[in-house]
């Protein structure tokens, strides 16, 4: 069979090569498409042959117990086999004949199918990894399979010559990382060889020698247990002279052991973890050579494990959860992507590899906590190995004695959290906490914690996950701006006739540049929809105030736009200078009148019209959102921040629930007509000009999602209490003085209400513990009063 096939394919070959105009199913303009290598159907047919041979072989083996290799009875299978192989070969040929692909500067497209045409076009950016696999048969002919991983689907292109496959791989990875490149530029610098697949530029990080691989395998628990059982069965049955009886048990056991050898030794042979210019790369395999890139941004967790007998040798095995991989249970390794980062490695090597996969992870810095002693009643077999701990980036859990397992999950990858408690655990006041990660070998469970610790761990893990995700988003947004978009920035700024030297200030959301005396340019960092939405709402709000003169300059958005996906607004520039920076250098004689004018300006804000009547949120997601009472509105405002900071507050503020309840009772008693509340009247948001009688606050800017239709006292209280946050020495004294001014104007009662709003804002900004310790300390002071 093997003789006829190559002939057929090679005879077809010349015609095929010279007929590239063969209309590909969805190819619009004529473009030189290629077929995979003509030997492809032969190699694939070979695989079918091998599969059949294995199936047949198994039949013989399983029948061997009863009838002593009755080959004669199985001979009828040969013609059937020939037909099957022929059919498979034809199918393979047809599939090859109708497969065409294009990999060029514009696109990556694979067209397949004789009757049902299918065209797969993968955008370069969607490619998550590009692997090269060389099954034994393909390897003999110098062919390789290109495996393209995009989202949750894997597309295989087989077979190409090895050099072509590596060239395409390098090109595609370059494009996948967002760099422009031309397929023609790539020289053949990194060509996979028949033995290994390391390019010239690849630096091996860890190489596993065959000796170590084999020794570690022989000492691994997974191998020792079936080996021990087989020996026991063999010895036992030989002693009682019942060997045939044992075969039923031994054969599946042996097959399992062989497959273990296949996966753990043959599949992992010559395992090399290398650093290539485009990330980590693994090559491995004795018969089937696999080269696989490790997409670090898709690593969802890491598991290190150490079988008991590896301990004296100081060896570990490292597995990783990679998003989208591991539909198989981890190490279906002969040719598919596997989750093994290192099959066996010393501690130093593990650290080296982990430093690449989880940058910034430092095991020694994380304080591990043991489960309480009473866990021994439930986990008598391994209670002393149960630990958990976290730092600001990752969570760690440990368990196991026969195989010691440590699961590491970066907070940002936490999917969900579960607390579980069975009846026995309830008696002992213990509970388990599961931190869920995508499918894969990592399974982080903190076993048998004290129930309070469990709740604390679970709830705070959600907070940490949220903070980590926010930080990651921020990081990405900033990176986008700092990275490839910087030219775009300069271009945008140049379009407005300015440069980066016109920067007035920058916050986490946006940067503000001076355009001229009248206007500023606010350039948002994030490509996210949120700032657009907020800006649109603010623009409408400001427009509704147009023509209303309250004696205070208000912000105005004159223009909003997009430049290459970056969102910007052109705002009216406030006259004067920033109040906060002025306060820091002014002396007390100047400050006091200015503070009075600041308080005046705050009072005037209430004369602004709210677009909706009643108590309401005015800006942000899902607004305007109206509420029946002040209390309902404000508890809604507090929900988010308090939920984030609850665990911290419970720790840092004694009797916090009492403070919380008191705030709600107080708010319920407040009866007031709703008025516009800026929500964040503080010196950094105010502007000061020189008036005839000295410096006067003339403008208030930066309305935001803090803006409400609520109690007008909130802003008066805010003007007083936020002053305490100003970074100059006399700020608290000034705040106390300003409160006296407020009492003079509004009567003694206001003190009580300022205290209520102190507690309100203390809760409102309490999530600052994540990003501003100074503000958080202020919050604690407000709540402790």
């Amino acid at each position: 069979m093997s003789a006829s096939q190559p002939q057929r394919t090679s005879s077809a070959d010349p015609d095929v090569r010279t007929a590239p105009g063969q209309p590909a199913p969805t190819a619009g303009p004529l473009k030189p498409t290629e077929r995979p290598h003509p030997l492809t159907p032969f190699v694939r047919g070979w695989l079918v042959f091998v599969a059949i041979a294995i199936g047949w072989g198994r039949e013989i083996v399983t029948n061997a117990g009863e009838n002593q290799f009755e080959l004669g009875g199985l001979l009828w299978i040969l013609p059937v086999l020939a037909v099957v192989v022929l059919l498979a070969a034809t199918a393979g040929f047809i599939s090859w004949y109708f497969t065409r692909f294009v990999i060029d500067d514009e696109e990556l497209r694979i067209d397949t199918g004789a009757i049902f045409k299918k065209s797969t076009k993968i955008p370069f950016e969607r490619l998550q990894s590009v692997d090269i696999v060389q099954p034994l048969a393909a390897r003999i002919f110098g062919l390789a399979e290109l495996r393209l991983d995009a989202g949750n689907s894997t597309t295989k292109l087989r077979y190409l010559t090895r050099s072509k496959a590596s060239r395409f791989r390098d090109y595609l990875l370059t494009r996948a990382h967002g760099y422009q490149a031309s397929i023609h530029d790539l020289d053949q610098q990194s060509v996979a060889s028949i033995f290994t697949d390391l390019g010239v530029a690849d630096q091996p990080l860890v190489q596993v020698s065959p000796q170590r691989l084999i020794v570690s395998f022989l000492l691994s628990t997974e191998w020792l247990i079936p080996a021990a059982i087989s020996i026991i069965i063999l010895v036992g049955t030989t002693a009682f002279q019942m060997v045939p009886l044992a075969l039923g048990a031994l054969i599946p056991l042996l097959i399992g052991m062989l497959s273990l050898i296949w996966r753990r030794v043959i599949g992992m042979f010559n395992f090399t973890l290398a650093e290539s210019p485009r990330g980590l790369r693994i090559t491995r395999g004795l018969t089937n050579l696999t080269s696989q890139s490790v997409p670090i941004n898709r690593v969802q967790g890491v598991k290190t494990s150490q079988p008991l007998l590896w301990k004296p040798l100081g060896w570990y095995r490292v597995d990783i959860d990679i998003l989208g991989h591991a539909h198989e249970d981890g190490e279906n390794s002969e040719s598919t992507a596997s989750s093994v980062l290192l099959p066996v490695a010393s501690r130093d090597e593990v650290e080296l590899a982990l430093a690449r996969v989880l940058p910034g992870f430092d095991l020694d810095r994380i304080e591990l906590q043991p489960s309480p002693k009473r866990a021994r009643w439930l986990r008598w077999f391994d209670f002393w190995t149960l630990h958990y701990g976290w730092d600001d980036r990752t969570l760690i859990t440990e368990h196991g004695w026969i195989t010691h397992v440590r699961d590491v999950v970066p907070h940002a990858k936490t999917q969900s959290v579960r607390i579980e408690q069975g009846p026995l655990q309830r008696l002992l006041r213990l509970a388990d906490v599961h931190v869920h990660t995508p499918r894969g070998p990592v399974n982080a469970v903190a076993h048998q914690l004290d129930d309070h610790a469990a709740r604390e761990l679970a709830l705070s893990q959600l907070d940490r996950a949220r903070a980590a995700r926010a930080a990651e988003r921020e990081h990405r947004a900033v990176k986008m701006v700092r990275g490839d978009d910087h030219d775009g920035d300069a271009e945008l700024l140049a379009g407005f006739g300015i440069g980066r030297d016109q920067l007035l200030g920058s916050g986490s959301e946006s940067e503000v540049f001076a355009l001229d005396h009248e206007r500023v340019l606010r350039l948002y960092r994030s490509r996210h929809e949120a700032p657009r939405q907020t800006a649109a709402q603010l623009r409408a709000l400001y427009a509704s105030w147009h023509g209303i003169d309250i004696g205070v300059e208000l912000p105005m958005i004159m223009e909003a736009g997009d430049y290459r996906g970056r969102f910007y607004t052109v705002d009216r520039r406030f006259s004067g200078r920033n109040f906060s920076s002025w306060l820091q250098q002014a002396d007390i004689a100047q400050r006091r009148p200015a503070l009075i004018s600041f308080f005046d300006a705050t009072e005037r804000l209430q004369h602004l019209q709210s677009p909706v009547p009643g108590f309401a949120r005015l800006v942000g997601d899902g607004t305007p959102q109206q509420f029946g009472t002040l209390g309902e509105l404000l508890s809604n405002m507090l929900m988010g921040p308090v939920q984030a900071s609850r665990a911290r507050l419970e720790r840092d503020v004694p009797g916090v629930s009492e403070v919380w309840n008191r705030l709600h009772t107080d708010l319920a008693q407040r009866s007031v007509a709703p008025a516009l509340v800026h929500g964040d009247v503080c010196p950094p948001n105010a502007y000061l000009s020189q008036g005839p009688q000295g410096p006067v606050v003339t403008g208030i800017g930066d309305f935001s999602p803090h803006t409400l239709n609520a109690d007008p006292l909130m802003d008066l209280a805010g003007a007083v209490i936020f002053l305490e946050l100003e970074p100059y020495a006399e700020a608290p004294a000034d705040a106390a003085w300003l409160q006296a001014v407020a009492v003079e104007r509004h009567g003694r009662d206001i003190v009580g209400w300022i205290d209520v709003y102190r507690r309100y804002y203390g809760f409102y900004f309490s999530n600052a513990y994540e990003f501003d310790p100074n503000l958080y300390a202020w919050c604690l002071r407000q709540l402790g009063r």
Partner: protein, 163 residues
């Protein structure tokens, strides 16, 4: 003890009382049906009807135990939509509490089998990238189920973040 599973600063939303009725019905009907067939087979084949009686008695015991737990089980379910995540709790003997951040939800499904439909009920399940999440709220009224689905989808989009 209950505080271990309480949501922070919120009240649980409970399931529809019809869910309890449905559970009572299934508890009354399913074990007797399941046990009757083996009981009949044993009785007919061996003629020892006292064994069949024992099997039936076992069915009755199971029904009683399940009935005893139905109300507690129904009451043990709770869910609450917080600003950033959804909490679900259930379980009488084996309790658990799961918290799913909206940003992690990939799929929100409303399901309603024939029995549930007969009782005017539906359930909502959430899928994240993790197969272990397994968050499901049964026994909702269809209106609440669709509201929850729409709300969660909306929140999921608003909170969406890469993986």
């Amino acid at each position: 003890m209950d505080e271990l599973f309480a949501p922070p600063a919120y009240e649980w939303k409970r399931l529809s009382p019809k869910y309890r009725s449905m559970r009572i019905l299934t508890s009354l009907v399913v074990p007797p049906i399941l046990f009757t067939i083996p009981a009949l087979i044993v009785g007919v084949t061996s003629g020892k009807w006292w064994i069949a009686g024992l099997i039936w008695a076992a069915a009755v015991v199971i029904v009683i135990i399940r009935l005893a737990f139905v109300t507690r089980n129904w009451r043990s379910w709770g869910y609450v939509e917080r600003d950033d995540d959804l909490y679900i709790t259930h379980g009488v003997m084996f309790r658990n509490l799961i918290a799913v951040p909206y940003g992690r939800m990939q799929l929100v499904e409303v399901e309603s089998g024939p029995l549930e439909r007969a009782f005017g009920l539906a359930s909502v399940s959430l899928k994240t990238a993790s197969p272990e999440t397994g968050a499901r709220i049964p026994g909702l009224t269809p209106e609440e189920a669709t509201r929850l689905r729409d709300r969660l989808t909306e929140l999921g989009e608003a909170h969406a973040s890469g993986l």
